[in-house]
Symmetry: C2
Subunit: 199 residues, 2 copies
């Protein structure tokens, strides 16, 4: 609908996830008309992002060096590895400040429908990290959906080793949620995982 | 939360309209991980957009030459000018294929709360286009909100000229809408603008 380059920019933004044609148009005009928006900076970051960012050779997290900042941190406990699907999950867990061990990013979850099998994930790298016996616990923190559960089950069966505990994150009612509106699977898990109150 | 450049890119995307922190993160990772996404092309478009795109010297629409494609089109009737707030509105009206005249883009609407007065809009340029008497009708197509109505009223009072008709787009029930859910102002306008059915 627009002349040349504006339409090209709208189309290109429209290819990004979660941006429809209307949003793409709004963004293109914002960039065109807002003097204060540093368009050169965004262009430069886009040019540099794929060159500069690589994936940690140990855990698969995003990194700007050979190893990510977590793997390089000597204060992190090397005896526990938390297995997640994506680098985004590392950030979510780090935000809780509950976990002081290391991570392992699988790069997705087993999903036959999308053609993703165990060989497409960084599972071999995880096994090699467990080889020397330093790690005593693997916490499986895949997403609580079909693909994440399948991956967790697969890993649980695979990681049978002496002196290695495998755990999974608790399922249950979300804090601040409403019992009445919880789905039956979540509520079932909350019953299953109930704890005796200390008195 | 992320190392260096990824966080920079997330922050930069988060500055765009309609993109929150979660979407910005999703977009940054999409760009990072999707091989098929042509990141160089987006970067190049961003670099070129402000250089290449200018505003039509006649109507203020977006253009890649001194005049926009509509002003340059000899098939468009020069006797009617449709006044809109933004270049986006031109595209919306063009999509209807109802209008074959020319446009005038004001560059916004009168809004005292945002400090936008008549002098901040391209109103002087509109008056100079009406100078030679070619234009016989001005259709005011500002947004049907407070600012758009104020701008329309201002223009209606200003454009008192012999042999010049000033009209406004009809207000009424949106096609495909439900009378029951129409707000009272819209419904009131629909009554006001009712038409006698031809029999």
């Amino acid at each position: 609908m627009y002349d040349g380059i504006i339409q090209d920019l709208i189309d290109e933004f429209g290819r990004l996830p979660g941006i429809g044609p209307k949003s793409a148009q709004r963004i293109a005009f914002h960039i065109l008309q807002t003097e204060s928006f540093d368009v050169a900076r965004l262009a430069q970051l886009l040019t540099e992002i794929r060159e500069k960012v690589r994936f940690c050779e140990v855990c698969g997290n995003v990194a700007e060096e050979a190893q990510c900042s977590i793997c390089r941190d000597p204060r992190r406990s090397p005896t526990t590895i938390c297995v997640v699907e994506e680098a985004k999950d590392v950030v979510a867990i780090e935000r809780t400040r509950e976990f002081r061990g290391l991570y392992h990013v699988l790069g997705g979850a087993i999903s036959p429908i999308d053609g993703i099998g165990p060989d497409d994930l960084r599972i071999a790298q995880l096994l090699s990290r467990l080889g020397d016996g330093t790690v005593t616990e693997v916490i499986i923190a895949t997403d609580p959906n079909l693909e994440g559960e399948a991956t967790a089950t697969y890993l649980t069966r695979l990681l049978v080793q002496p002196n290695l505990t495998v755990s999974r994150l608790a399922s249950g009612l979300p804090v601040g949620g409403d019992l009445e509106y919880a789905d039956e699977v979540t509520l079932g898990r909350a019953f299953e995982g109930r704890r005796t109150v200390e008195r």
